[in-house]
Amino acid sequence: MVALLRIAKSVVFISSLLFAISILPTHSVYSQDAGPSSSGLGSITVKAHDTDNDAGGSITVEWDDPGYEKLAGFKGFLILRAVMPSGGKDSVEVAPFGARSYDDRSVSDDNTYSYSVAALVNGEKLMSAPSMQARSSKQWFDSRLTWVLILGLIICGAVIYFIESAKRGTKLFLRRIAGLEAIDEAVGRATEMGRPILFVAGIQDMDDVQTIAGLTILGSIARTVAEYDTKINMPVRASLVMTAARETIKHAYVTAGRPDAYNDDMVHYVTDEQFGFVAAVDGIMVRERPAACFFLGAFFAESLIMAETGNSIGAIQVAGTAMPAQLPFFVAACDYTLIGEELFAASAYLSGEPRQLGSLKGADVGKAIAMIVILVGVIATTIASAWNSESMLWIENLLRQMFSTG
């Protein structure tokens, strides 16, 4: 793990290096005034340059309109391209009304091009002079994402810092989350009653972080289950989740020293169909009458069908999801609900591993930044607009620039 962390650090270093390289100029803009054209309106000025922040194969053409668009009989601007040094002109596209720029995505990075724009008026082509030559290229960094990178590095850095310091033995304080004690309590009750536990890790596949969070909680629960020798039943909706869940439970049984008690059929695939899965889970609930139901992962409309059926059989229910739309149902129908981020935090809490807890502390830094930015942003703007304060205006603009993502 130390090695991995070392690699992580070098990744951070390399990415900052990449960032530094990327803000160096990577392309030039050529432009040239065109000669006078036949209409009385003056000439169209055309600029062509490599399209920013892309994977190459695209040149951006920009032009201004001296007033052609207002003429009756104006049909549009025709964009013409010539391959340099000697190639003939071919027309690329008629730009839509009102457009003043066009991304030509049909170019090759190996050629140099020159563009001209013609106003189509009453069947006449009023040509501009050709632009200076341009060549498309690939960029190594999307400069629009500079602030994303910086903020991302700060937060990831905070997470890694706290993981490291927790590993070195620094004591970190974290408040309790209601509902986590309930998990052990629920497993205990199922053992007493001699009834099984039902676990549903959401209905998404492994390409959802919530499913993974659900599975890590499953790991902790399964350890208790293995120690108490309770039965666990886990229907799944996706085959990949089935494979991963089997690994998780098997590991828990091995850790608890009872590998012989593990059985692959504890986790079983039902169907990929959302409501077919629900029909089956409901059937399992009313027939097997589990004493405890866990719903931890990504849920959609089925959340309430399951939670209400569980409620009708009198099971203790613990739910957790990061789907904002489903939280109300779990809050209404379950005994304990892990709300949003608590689902992600729960697995770290349950593991009790200092490194895991450290990562939560890192995320808290992110929340602190969010709160400060929101408050400072609003206060700065208010002052800026009330007293025309230059420095506050500067803060406002900076924040706006930082947090705009597109």
Binding site: E93, D103, R105, A301, S312, P324, A325, T405, G406
Partner: protein, 328 residues
């Protein structure tokens, strides 16, 4: 023996229903009487609850079933006021000049059809009547089939039939493509890369309507009907945020609240949410369809749910008073 009673009653009920005269519509007077009876039954439940008899789930279920079914037989229409978010959606669509290319993304499946299908039909009818060119696609496998149903239904309207719309020229169905939000992502560079062929296996290049449609920059408006993920959230996050398209959406009522933040930050142009949104959208586009029929049943069932909430709280309140009296 008692076990079979229910089945016999159910079978008898079905036979009676089959033999009933059709269509079965009751007069406004009878409708009023039925409504009053339903109200009385609820009052009865209230009295029972106040006396300390909590009613079971099944009674609640029965009331819901009855309150949803009865309005189907009533001949009555509710007046509807168009909300601002539906109005902005309508305005955005109505402002499009004839010939504009609209991408209609159908990201839902049959269970959500009651809410979204009326919107789909109203949208299609409006688009066809105003000569908008519609490009249909789906991120959900069943989406394009739902679109097909809506198109087939709308094409039978006399005004639209008279237009002699042609597939491939006035509308096209690109079908379903798997890959969730990645599909939107990839469409940002190339539609044809993601949809090399339409739903009838015709090559992208051979479809006249798609001539010159390379990516989002050739699309004037995107209308997304969504009931979950992938859906409106992904369209906002990728198509709007990264490619700057203009997006309007029709959502199920469940999905709508999570989309509201985007509406208030103006990344989403207009939203029709749930059955009310559908009825309002029908009203705005003047394409009155099923949603306006459903809304009466909907209102009835709402009243029943609200009545049950009031009953539940009355019981709680009485319980407090009793426990206080005991304490004193």
């Amino acid at each position: 023996m008692k076990k079979y009673y229910y089945w016999i009653i159910l079978a008898a009920l079905i036979i009676v229903l089959i033999l009933l005269p059709k269509p079965l519509i009751v007069s406004p007077t009878v409708s009023t009487i039925i409504t009053v009876l339903l109200g009385l039954a609820l009052a009865g439940v209230l009295v029972l609850t106040l006396r300390g008899h909590m009613i079971g789930r099944r009674t609640v279920f029965l009331f819901i079933g009855v309150s949803l079914t009865l309005p189907f037989f009533m001949n009555y229409r509710m007046p509807i006021k168009v909300s601002p978010e539906v109005q902005t959606l309508y305005d955005a669509i109505a402002k499009l000049p004839p010939g504009s290319k609209v991408l209609a993304a159908f990201d839902y499946d049959p269970p959500s059809a009651p809410e979204l299908q009326p919107q789909a039909e109203a949208f299609m009818a409006f688009a066809f009547k105003h000569n908008l060119k519609v490009i249909i696609m789906g991120l959900w496998p069943q989406g394009p089939q739902q679109a097909d149903m809506a198109v087939t239904k709308v094409l039978q309207e006399p005004e639209i039939r008279a237009k002699n719309l042609r597939y491939g020229v006035d509308y096209v169905n690109l079908g379903f493509q798997s890959g969730n939000e990645f599909v939107i992502q990839r469409m940002g560079t190339s539609f044809s890369g993601m949809f090399p062929r339409d739903i009838y296996n015709t090559d992208y290049d051979k479809i006249p309507l798609l001539n010159g449609v390379e990516n989002f920059s050739n699309i004037d408006f995107v209308f997304n009907l969504s009931s979950g993920q992938p859906g409106t959230v992904e369209w906002v996050q990728i198509a709007v945020d990264r490619y700057g398209v203009k997006l309007g959406a029709g959502n199920t009522a469940v999905q709508a609240p999570s989309v509201y933040p985007y509406l208030s930050s103006r990344r989403l142009t207009g939203l029709a949410g749930g059955m009310t949104g559908a009825a309002e959208f029908e009203q705005a586009t003047k394409e009155i369809g099923k949603a306006n029929t459903y809304i009466l049943s909907q209102s009835f069932s709402h009243m029943v749910v609200i009545a049950f909430i009031i009953i539940g709280n009355a019981a709680l309140f009485v319980g407090y008073r009793k426990s206080k009296q005991k304490g004193a």
